[in-house]
């Protein structure tokens, strides 16, 4: 192992010795920073942190390193980051190479030609895809994915919304309606980001408000955030708002579809197609596409 003072010139050695720096045995500073950042296992981090607490050199180094320019990215670093990111994104956007498409076509052609062994071909087909799926994400179907239409339902407040605070004073009911009304103003104006922010606060303050949860879910869908939208809509559904029953069901279907679960989306839409209502036609026409 290299001696840390091997490559010092005589003058440096002299001064290092006079300052007593040669008597210090600090652990590698990258591990100390890692311990300080909480990315090491506790057994390894604890002695490093103890050293750091007692060593002013290491404290000064950590502070200077983290607060000064030493940890800042250089132009070259940023160029490298951007290049790597672009390469990764290009991998996502890139269509499947011709030979992968050819393999799929060959599998399909084989399946058509050999109906007698159709079962075998069907079992092998996914394996072909799997075995070639190490580079680009997968062999994607060229046709665009079906998407349920996303509208902005008008604001409807159920009778229950006025008595969310059953047993509470009239003042509280007024406060709730005032808060909800204020949060729905940006929703009505089509400002979904602002609406989502305000409605999230209302759902926190009034956890029994199905309306707030529902319009939060719709706002999040318009913000292209289907996961949190689904959570909000499921909350709304659990609160069973009679006036918004069909709306909740439809938009929950949209949220499932947009989170890549067409089967769950279809399950939401089936009751809407089975009974007359504002979403009957839309649900019936969408169901064949949701497989």
């Amino acid at each position: 192992m290299r001696n840390r003072f091997d490559d010092l010139d005589p003058e440096e050695r002299e001064m290092v010795a006079r300052a007593g720096l040669d008597k210090l045995h600090c652990p590698p500073f990258d591990r100390m920073l890692a311990a300080q950042s909480g990315v090491l296992e506790e057994g390894e981090a604890a002695p490093l942190r103890r050293h750091l607490e007692s060593c002013r050199y290491c404290q000064a180094l950590a502070a200077d390193f983290l607060q000064g320019e030493s940890a800042a990215p250089s132009t070259q670093n940023l160029d490298h980051v951007r290049a790597r990111l672009n390469k990764g994104i290009a991998g996502i956007a890139k269509p499947a190479p011709w030979w992968r498409q050819w393999q799929v076509f060959a599998a399909i052609a084989g399946a058509a030609a050999c109906l007698a062994i159709a079962v075998n071909v069907n079992q092998q087909s996914p394996e072909v895809k799997k075995s070639t799926g190490t580079g680009a994400p997968s062999v994607e179907a060229p046709k665009p994915r079906f998407r349920l239409p996303l509208s902005a339902p008008p604001v409807k407040l159920s009778v229950g919304s006025a008595i969310v605070w059953r047993g509470e004073s009239a003042t509280n009911e007024e406060t709730y309606l005032k808060d909800l009304g204020a949060a729905l103003a940006p929703y009505r104006a089509g400002q979904y980001a602002e609406a989502a922010s305000q409605l999230a606060a209302v759902t926190k303050k009034y956890p029994q408000s199905a309306e707030a949860a529902f319009y939060l879910g719709v706002s999040l869908l318009h913000q292209n955030q289907p996961q949190p939208a689904r959570a909000a809509l499921e909350k709304a559904e659990a609160l069973r708002p009679q006036a918004l029953r069909d709306e909740v069901q439809w938009f929950l279907g949209v949220a499932w579809e947009r989170t890549g679960n067409p089967g769950q989306a279809a399950a939401q839409l089936k009751p809407l197609c089975a009974t007359p209502g504002p979403y009957h036609d839309a649900a019936c026409s969408a169901l064949p596409h949701l497989r």
């Binding site: 290299r2 001696n3 840390r4 490559d7 005589p10 003058e11 440096e12 002299e14 001064m15 006079r18 300052a19 007593g20 720096l21 210090l24 045995h25 600090c26 500073f29 990258d30 920073l33 890692a34 950042s37 990315v39 296992e41 002695p47 103890r50 050293h51 007692s54 060593c55 002013r56 050199y57 000064a60 180094l61 200077d64 390193f65 983290l66 607060q67 000064g68 320019e69 030493s70 800042a72 990215p73 670093n77 940023l78 980051v81 790597r84 990111l85 990764g88 996502i92 680009a136 994400p137 913000q223 292209n224 955030q225 289907p226 996961q227 949190p228 959570a231 947009r258 989170t259 890549g260």
Partner: protein, 182 residues
């Protein structure tokens, strides 16, 4: 409810649409420096920080629709932290790190060294170079790699630090002899 980890999202293999891409680029511009600095604070290696930063933003790209805008920043740092944890775990598994290294606790610091460390003329960059060189035993190239400074900057910082030491101990450069410290 915010998911506990980015793995809870199903990542997409689809490119972002124009609106999403604009938003993604805005987040990238605003946070790339911070994520890099954070990764440096966790690893102290610029090439690793580059890798973590690019992977973090690629993960964001893949999960963009599923990450709530209100906690995107926290999400980025959580992913960066997980990647830094993996980096150290990998180094440990690959036995890059020594087993059972003795780590000194209480360190007695010589008075002379303390006065150098606390010298009012010492800028953070000078102090960083001095400590990396004379306490951690890094050579100049290693300091360049760790700090991102140019070789000339590192040399200049070390020369400046040496001059302070020289002034303190009044060492005659030519003869190597020295007078008593002030």
């Amino acid at each position: 409810m915010a998911p506990d980890s980015p793995e809870q999202f199903s990542s997409t293999s689809r490119p972002l649409d124009d609106t999403q891409l604009k938003e993604f680029e805005k987040v990238y511009r605003e946070e790339v420096d911070n994520v890099f600095r954070y990764a440096m604070g966790c690893t102290a290696r610029r090439e690793v920080a580059e890798e973590i930063t690019s992977e973090v933003f690629l993960a964001l790209y893949r999960n963009f629709a599923g990450v709530d805008a209100s906690w995107r920043k926290a999400w980025l740092f959580r992913v960066a932290k997980n990647m830094a944890v993996n980096h150290w775990r990998k180094r440990r598994n690959e036995r890059e790190l020594p087993e059972g290294t003795d780590i000194p606790g209480e360190t007695g610091i010589p008075e002379a060294a303390e006065s150098i460390l606390d010298h009012g003329d010492l800028k953070p960059s000078h102090r960083t170079c001095l400590i990396l060189r004379y306490v951690h035993g890094m050579d100049r190239d290693e300091i360049v790699a760790a700090t991102g400074m140019s070789l000339n900057q590192v040399k200049s910082c070390l020369q400046y630090g040496l001059r302070l030491l020289r002034d303190k101990f009044q060492i005659d450069r030519k003869g190597g002899s020295h007078a008593e410290p002030i």
